[in-house]
Symmetry: C2
Subunit: 205 residues, 2 copies
């Protein structure tokens, strides 16, 4: 019997997953409402497959939780189950070792099927997700440095260079430098175009 744990901060989703999975003969042995709770539970009870939501409010995010779960001895398979296919975290999740990536609008059968496959050690990706993965491999998402991303997100919130400089405690010239690098990496030549491009490629939400 495959033992499943569901991790999601929405009670409704947890109940839905439990209902769908148990209707197909799978055994939901635990529910966690946060990444932290998932990690804590996993060390105290044997589980074969973990269904993990990516966007969870407080604390550890889904990717980090995935990493922690897979860090223990004889880890379960972790299936990411999320709402968005545009998410930039797809890559991070797969890199973290997730056994699969499903969308919440998936039909119940494919959900159940995915759990079974994961339990057998297979990798399972939603078609849409797989597609995005390969397109992103072809035109790799330019990786911004920590500082660059920090600056860019402030820009996205409408801050001026002067404001950003003040907040980050650097000179305005420095902020401009970071921006120039961002522009080059994204292939644009203005701050507004930069946030548009970053949004497009999921670097910015």
């Amino acid at each position: 019997m495959t033992r499943v744990m569901v991790t999601d901060d929405h009670p409704v989703v947890r109940a839905g997953l439990r209902a769908l999975l148990e209707a197909s003969g799978l055994e939901v042995v635990a529910e966690a409402s946060s990444g932290a709770e998932a990690v804590a539970l996993i060390s105290r009870m044997p589980v074969d497959v973990v269904l993990m939501d990516l966007q969870m409010g407080e604390g550890i995010d889904g990717v980090e939780a995935t990493r922690l779960v897979l860090d223990r001895p004889s880890p379960p398979a972790v299936l990411i189950l999320t709402t968005y296919d545009t998410d930039a975290d797809i890559l991070r999740a797969v890199e973290a070792g997730a056994a699969g990536y499903l969308l919440k609008d998936a039909p119940p059968e494919s959900l159940v099927d995915a759990v079974h496959r994961a339990a057998r050690g297979e990798t399972v990706l939603a078609p849409l997700v797989a597609q995005r993965l390969v397109t992103r491999m072809r035109s790799p998402a330019p990786s911004l440095s920590g500082r660059e991303l920090e600056v860019l997100s402030q820009v996205a919130e409408g801050a001026s260079n002067r404001q950003i400089a003040k907040r980050l405690v650097v000179s305005e010239a420095t902020v401009k430098s970071h921006l120039v690098h961002v522009f080059t990496k994204l292939g644009v030549d203005s701050r507004t175009a930069a946030v548009a491009a970053a949004r497009e490629s999921g670097l910015l939400r």
Copy 2:
């Protein structure tokens, strides 16, 4: 007995709602996976409360479906159940006559409670939502003219004033004029801040 219909394009969510509601003695007599389906079903079966998701992929959106459902003779109460409290559609939904607005991360009890209240004809808003409603009433969403919005959305896509002027076949000076008006209405003083503010208040997708 209160008869409930759940409308959501995610099977998982539908199953979750059904499970939670039925565990509390409510009767889920129908499920719809789209706004159109909800409208079609409602005319053929008596229902007391409709739980309606706002963001549904194809076709009619939640607000429109709400309007249509409430248009029939002796309509059910419509409870909006959605993921985001930032949603600009909150206002539209309430205007459309929704009996309440809940967030998907609500605890099961408050969900069940809300359905009962709605069935009794009461209005029920999640605290967070109520808060946003009043703040938005206090500072009403500034309405942009057609041209202003047109310019602003090009800005949001990263276009320069020159490019916008070319595309809209007007002079650059005109574009600047429109932008000045947008800035005043939104209470900001830069294009990036304008798109941030417009996003915040839902003027821009």
